[in-house]
Symmetry: C2
Subunit: 131 residues, 2 copies
DNA sequence: GAGTAAATACGAAAACTTTCGTTTCACAAA
DNA sequence: TTTGTGAAACGAAAGTTTTCGTATTTACTC
């Protein structure tokens, strides 16, 4: 029996909307629409449709507040970050996170400061694991 | 004058094909098709279309070898990895690579070995920069 | 040159994503 | 209760990606 193929990843526009919701915590169609860049020029009904789809896909839930719907992510941004990294690592880095980081730290555009932060993060994690 | 909006990122299927080409170095439609998973069941003409599109988008070039075309990436896998990471970092990590790594090293699924490798990479880069 | 097996060229169907218009609904103000 | 305003519901148009069919071309064989 074949599954319907749910990629469990957000599309471009879905991610755009989730980003605003993660930032807001929760919000109405109007809230999200107002938060988009000036030049985005998306119709109200389009925004409503995106949120409806996100609800169908269970990335958000909604409750009613008076006559409007308030939408709220069911999936945290951090969880989605992890999911995206896993996907990228699988598709492009042989499922080897270290090689992903290798590519990142070999990027000349990366500042020394960022490198220092990264090392601190790794050290902290290694310390916690052993301690 | 508005640009047509070329995202310079590969679509799902395009990436699937580029991955095989990166692995092969170069190859014909048949070569790539044969390299796909058993259960992929893609028509020959579909594969040919994807490669044609990749050529239009200038991700590959082709030369003729007898009656067939041999396709070859114009963009290295490492360059595309860098590009993808930059995109993900921008869209989901506030354009802060360190926070991307933070999410990665906080993933419980990451092995201690991988962590060690990551630290070694960072150390090497820091050492080279200062030396 | 005619036959044929395999590849290319091209257009378009199918599937999915993004956008929007129209209708319906809910609430509030007169 | 009617009317106006803004939201929701829904379907579908528009845009993009993925898949494939048909026609044509190419190189090889006889």
């Amino acid at each position: 029996m074949r599954q319907k193929k749910k990629s469990d990843l957000l599309t471009e526009v879905e991610l755009e909307f989730m980003t605003e919701l993660w930032d807001l915590g929760e919000g109405t169609v109007r809230d999200v629409l107002d938060k988009l860049p000036e030049d985005r020029n998306l119709a109200y009904t389009s925004a409503a449709t995106i949120l409806r789809i996100l609800e169908q896909k269970e990335f958000v839930t909604s409750r009613k507040d008076g006559k409007r719907h308030v939408f709220k992510p069911t999936l945290g941004k951090d969880a989605y970050q992890t999911r995206s990294l896993k996907d990228l690592s699988m598709k492009l880095f042989d499922d080897t996170p270290a090689s992903l980081v290798a590519r990142l730290v070999n990027d000349d555009a990366l500042t020394e400061e960022a490198l220092g932060q990264i090392r601190a993060l790794v050290d902290r994690r290694l310390k916690n694991d052993s301690g």
